[in-house]
Symmetry: C2
DNA sequence: CGAGTCTTTGATTAGGATCAATTGCTGTGG
DNA sequence: CCACAGCAATTGATCCTAATCAAAGACTCG
């Protein structure tokens, strides 16, 4: 068929390295959290962060674990999902570099509500909630940056609520694809579209849109037949942004 | 019928007053934003806040207005809803005393995404985004408190996303009623339940749960027949928390 | 009392979920 | 290198939840 190909164009990322101290400092400095700090201050920050690598599919933490760490993705992607008894997971975030997950503030005995899984091989810097809280108090600009990040997340969440409340599935799928292409678009697969640069199963898409695998598959087949997207096992690429936007707008 | 009554037990609140300066200071001090500040600091804060009263139904701001003010409810309730072209509004928040709305940070030319309407007569303290930003920088504890508030909102939003993605309507309605009773429960109407202390139309409930008025009405009728709630025009009271919780848990 | 709004109830429809196979891709091991 | 195991994706058939369409009842207020 015109819009089908057989091999996922997604190059897989691997990162089996260990950060040196100065590297760690540099990475943290690139992060929106700590962008405002100078070299000396970054040293202080770097001291409380530890680096860990995960291979694709590895579990970072599970819902129910004590909520005591804040983590920042520095390479690769991490999938945050809320599990439910009957296996109907909800995908709350697909985080790329410089995005955070875990607990920002809660020092008490709160439990994690979500699973965090390495969606690709990835590298994560993390610290315990207590140390992070100390950083917030010590460096006011960090608190402000954090506030901005959380506020942005809240806005995204509210947009998602709006979508789930009122849009039919094809519209939600279109909007989700566009958002992903925007955030993770590795431009151009060989058919001149914007390839979503992350392994993306139908199940993932279903968990993001609150639909079922089957429905998502049907919707994508339809979009593909119309030439709006290309898709295959674990990948999607946007080929006709205009049309998708029209659907996403209603 | 056993569970019907004719008059809404909701007492309407009225507040046609004007805060004196010390009153304003005291109110701000009770707010989670500024609880950590001392009297002198509160004076400074109070200077940039102005008080406004609204009568029930009055519009505070509309989606599309420039996003330039942060407001804190000090009495009454404010309804935050996201309008959509086809009138399918989404109710994002029903705010009571000490909850905030408006823009925390965006100093640019951002536009409000939501309508804010006085849901009851209410009293609001507000300031412009710029002044608030200055307060955040001047008083680090305020930034931390704000961060905690926004993080809490984010958690609520994620819970809502989970519900909308996977729960059927009766479950969402039950969960919503319990949450409202928790937050706004004026205990005891004359039938020994927990009355939700706010005017609450079926439409509001529909906008909160992403369902239609008709469906909500049917669900409530069902709950009422089972004796789990009492309800009437613009009010609901929870009479059998246990059973509702069972539904809300699935 | 009568207009207007909110609520309830019924009948019908449709969007998606569910159930059930089948096909196709990938990586593995003989 | 090919066969096969295993998972991902597709497609079809059916069912069901909730939306839609339509109307009538209830409460409120001027």
């Amino acid at each position: 068929m015109s819009t089908r190909r057989r091999s996922p164009v997604t190059p897989v990322r691997v990162e089996p390295h260990r950060c040196t101290a100065p590297e760690k400092r540099r990475l943290l400095g690139t992060t929106p959290f700590f962008a405002a700090l100078d070299a000396r201050q970054l040293d202080e920050v770097a001291e409380v962060f530890v680096q860990r690598n995960f291979t694709a599919g590895e579990t970072i933490h599970r819902a129910g674990d004590p909520a005591e760490r804040l983590s920042i993705v520095v390479a690769g992607q991490v999938k945050i999902s809320r599990p439910s008894v009957d296996g109907q997971d909800v995908l709350l975030g697909l985080l790329g570099p410089y995005e955070h997950f875990g607990s920002l503030l809660e020092l008490g005995d709160a439990a994690c509500r979500d699973d965090a899984v390495a969606h690709s091989d990835c590298c994560v810097l993390s610290t315990d909630a207590e140390s992070f809280h100390a950083l917030l108090e010590r460096f006011p600009p960090v608190a402000l940056a954090t506030l901005a990040l959380v506020a942005a997340r809240l806005r995204e969440a509210q947009a998602t609520i709006e979508q789930l409340s009122t849009y039919p599935v094809p519209r939600r799928v279109a909007a989700t694809l566009l958002a992903l292409a925007e955030r993770l678009g590795a431009d151009d697969d060989d058919a001149g579209g914007v390839l979503i640069g992350v392994a993306l199963s139908r199940q993932d898409l279903a968990d993001m849109t609150g639909a079922t695998v089957e429905t998502v598959s049907r919707v994508l087949s339809d979009f593909r037949r119309r030439g709006w997207i290309g898709s295959g096992r674990q990948w999607v690429s946007v080929r006709d942004r205009e049309s998708l936007e029209a659907i996403a707008r209603g």
